[in-house]
Symmetry: C2
Subunit: 521 residues, 2 copies
């Protein structure tokens, strides 16, 4: 049976081959100026030491629970760089006591009841793709939701589907496809993250403009809290008081476990138009994207890569910035939309060396999507080479983007020089809004074996301080978890935190849900 990696990304059999690793080592070594990169072998689970559990599964729920080493090990961490390094080193000290796999809402209720009575901290777990320490809690009870993965009901008139929270991206898309629908929500973690996880962390999706956060596709939800069930009414829109759903969107497993949601689905797009637009400078690209974002054309794709990203991700070797621009529709050809977008980017100095590609039917974006989804496997291979490789992201209004970009780049450059003796940082926009972009930074640097986590933590600390000082958010779509909490606590209004804490005390009176996430435990 195909098996997930217990320490790294995705499927074990999808990891880079030895040949691919050697080729990668050569390329990265050349870029970082390292001559002798050693590629270490993946860790051996049998050699890793699991800590004794703090809690044993209760007899009444034993059928749902596993204390198997593979289950405990593979649920120990999320998938950030620091997670993968620790897993790769065989450090399993924060392993959960056991992993529970509920099969029904009643199971979730029973599990939370038991956790509350036993004082056992419960960690809701979807696909385990958190990059912010959202699921890491030593000795906790990990509640893995992936057995609750059904599309339960489809309302064709309203184009909505009732989907269980534990459905992984491909699992829910497989069930929607025969019906002619798609949720069309493709975070990079698509294959290894769940609907419930997306909702709990306000995941950012496929669309680069207009509705993109999962928040906007959620019609209603069912949430099991330790205090009882919360179910919101299915409504296309409402003005009746503060939105109940918005309390749980972004709650990161601290208020309840999302067992089901009615989601707005879509027909599969058949009309597509795409173009690669080059700009002499990143700044010129930024100005063009700003104009696009304010023209209400609602491009599906609008991803601007700085020259460094354009080179590594798309092979653009002439120092240009690259805008990946795309329109799509299930209803109508999008030529007029693309034509106006091309005018706008050309007004800002953009050129289209390969013109506009129009297609009907699916598959056009397949290649890009494939490489996008494979990137984390490459990251794992770099970890085996003691290379530091990580990303962080934010959002900022247009007026302050230039200063934020300069300050973050400068700060991280200096930190890399000091901590790592070199390395590089690049930037892209993953999403854009009329009032600002969501910049996404990638860092690659040489690391020292045994110190990778500490080295990255130092760089990340500097980057986070720079982000916050420049007015950004500590996260646009990676969530807060445990890792971002110090900056989140300074970003969010103090009285809002007090109000949210009061809400949590109501819904989770014994404080068993994901302690340490969003709030100090």
């Amino acid at each position: 049976m195909r098996r997930r990696s217990w320490w790294g990304w995705g499927w074990e059999d999808q990891a880079l081959t030895s040949e691919q690793k050697q080729s990668l080592a050569g390329a990265v070594g050349a870029r970082l100026g390292l001559s002798d990169i050693e590629v270490q072998s993946p860790p051996d689970l049998d050699a890793a030491v699991l800590p004794p559990p703090r809690f044993e599964p209760p007899a009444a729920l034993a059928r749902l629970c596993s204390t198997e080493p593979f289950d405990r090990a593979s649920h120990t961490y999320g998938k950030s760089f620091r997670d993968v390094v620790r897993g790769f080193n065989g450090d399993l000290s924060p392993a959960p006591s056991f992993v529970a796999y509920p099969e029904s809402e009643a199971d979730v209720v029973a599990l939370l009841d038991w956790c509350a009575s036993a004082g056992a901290p419960a960690v809701p777990y979807g696909g385990g793709s958190s990059v912010v320490g959202g699921t890491e809690l030593a000795g906790g009870v990990c509640i893995d939701m992936t057995r609750m993965d059904r599309v339960v009901e489809i309302d064709r008139a309203s184009r909505a589907a009732r989907i269980q929270g534990g459905a992984l991206g491909p699992v829910l898309e497989e069930q929607l496809r025969p019906e002619g629908y798609t949720l069309r929500h493709y975070p990079q973690s698509f294959e290894f993250s769940t609907l419930g996880g997306w909702l709990a962390t306000r995941s950012g999706g496929h669309y680069a403009t207009n509705y993109t956060h999962i928040d906007d596709f959620c019609e209603s939800m069912r949430v099991v809290t330790p205090a009882g069930l919360v179910e919101s009414r299915r409504l296309p829109g409402s003005g009746a008081g503060p939105s109940p759903d918005r309390l749980f969107l972004g709650s990161e497993g601290t208020l309840g476990i999302i067992t089901e949601a009615w989601m707005r689905v879509q027909e599969r797009p058949v009309h597509k138009s795409s173009a690669g637009v080059r700009f002499e400078t990143f700044d010129a690209g930024v100005a063009a994207v700003r104009a696009l974002s304010q023209a209400a054309l609602f491009s599906a794709n609008c991803r601007l890569l700085d020259p460094g990203e354009a080179m590594t991700a798309a092979g653009v070797a002439d120092g240009s910035a690259l805008l990946v621009l795309g329109f799509e529709s299930a209803d109508h050809p999008v030529d007029a939309w693309m034509a106006r977008a091309v005018e706008l980017v050309q007004d800002h100095g953009g050129t289209l060396p390969e013109g506009v590609r129009t297609s009907s039917g699916e598959g056009a974006a397949g290649a890009w999507k494939g490489s996008f989804l494979r990137a984390p496997y490459t990251r794992d291979a770099l970890v085996a080479m003691d290379v530091i490789v990580e990303t962080f992201e934010t959002a900022i209004t247009w007026d302050r983007f230039g200063a934020l970009h300069a300050s973050v780049t400068d700060t991280v450059d200096k930190a890399l020089a000091e901590v790592c003796g070199g390395g590089w940082i690049t930037c892209r926009f993953t999403h854009v809004y009329p009032d600002g972009p969501a910049p996404y930074f990638s860092v690659v640097a040489p690391g020292r074996r045994g110190s990778l986590v500490q080295m990255w933590d130092e760089v990340k600390q500097a980057a986070s301080e720079a982000l916050l000082a420049a007015g950004g958010t500590i996260t646009h779509h990676h969530a807060v978890g445990r890792d971002h909490r110090p900056w989140y606590e300074r970003q969010r209004p103090d009285l809002f935190a007090d109000a949210l804490r009061a809400a949590k005390s109501t819904l989770d009176p014994s404080g068993v849900l994901n302690p340490g996430v969003l709030f100090a435990s």
Copy 2:
């Protein structure tokens, strides 16, 4: 000086003339089968009795406060039918003790501090256009925000403006216009409601599709709560925990007073295309609008009137339903958008007797907008004729719209027959979403002098029960206030109410803010 009506809608000098009233009496009499409609004279403030105040303005704040009869009388009610009837009858029993007009955030803080120390209930008041009893509290302290009405700052790069909460629609638009911008948020109350009121009640705006609730245009806000100031960070998007802004959007003055917000503004549209599309039946129009809403064309206007509304509002005499369809853009001609929309509506049996009208520049929608904004003055005239005239609204997914419409229409027809001996109900869509419409119902019926409020309350009760039973929301954009609370309490999840109450206890520990709204006092 031009003066607001103390008992009815808008400006005193904009009320219908005697001639207009007589003509209206004739038309309504014919429609309702009443031969001898008497048009009563407007009430006289000098003859109305104001109750003794429960609280006196404190000396330190006396400069901000008024106990003038006109101020107390004109701040007694909102502008629902039951409000106007009671004002028209000179019933001022729920008048506030006094009206305070803060001029700065410090004034708001001082007022709330005093209210908390004196145990005086504070009622945040914008333009006073609530139709749900949102500002009615006998003996309370009415905090009228309209002196805080400045556009404080404009960020041209991000197209955003920092605007004080007390700015009425025309006041903020006047300040944005010289800069080339518009908020383009036009609820029917546009002239007599404020930004802070829109945010606090999740107002529904101009756009019929895509972003339309004021929620979507809010980048950040400053809120004075009794516990202190809450200010959220300006961000185009964020995934850092539950949104702080969403706690206050829809809070209806129960958690704090919104003193400022950064709002996403827009360039003024110059390309417009509009069409009146007729359908033989309302159902055919509904099917066409559903297709439009799911095509991602994002029409600015998409208002479907049933045959009754089409006749009274647009003079369509052949029994057709009418779709008012429009596209607009500040950036590009919208012909391709309209062309596809026309194909779609024609596929569903729509016809365009007057074709498509394309225009550049503003003013095209002026006539419709004028009559839309004048409707409440007509309502006031009907009150003087003992005619019951009111609206209510909801939102519902497409799959359940047919049943909701049938049930509500049938229920209200029966209630009107029983309570009023006749009358009619009509329906339009004010907003549409991919997963459902926001139906807006209008009722006109003969009333008996002295019993108008009780008669309408009976009909409204039946209508609200039918809405809730059919799965709708008690309000899509009119808010909850005091009038909708019984149904709101059944609609929202109980545990969410507990969580919200806990948040309120944190922000408003002595419970002085708008007691009776959203929560039982």
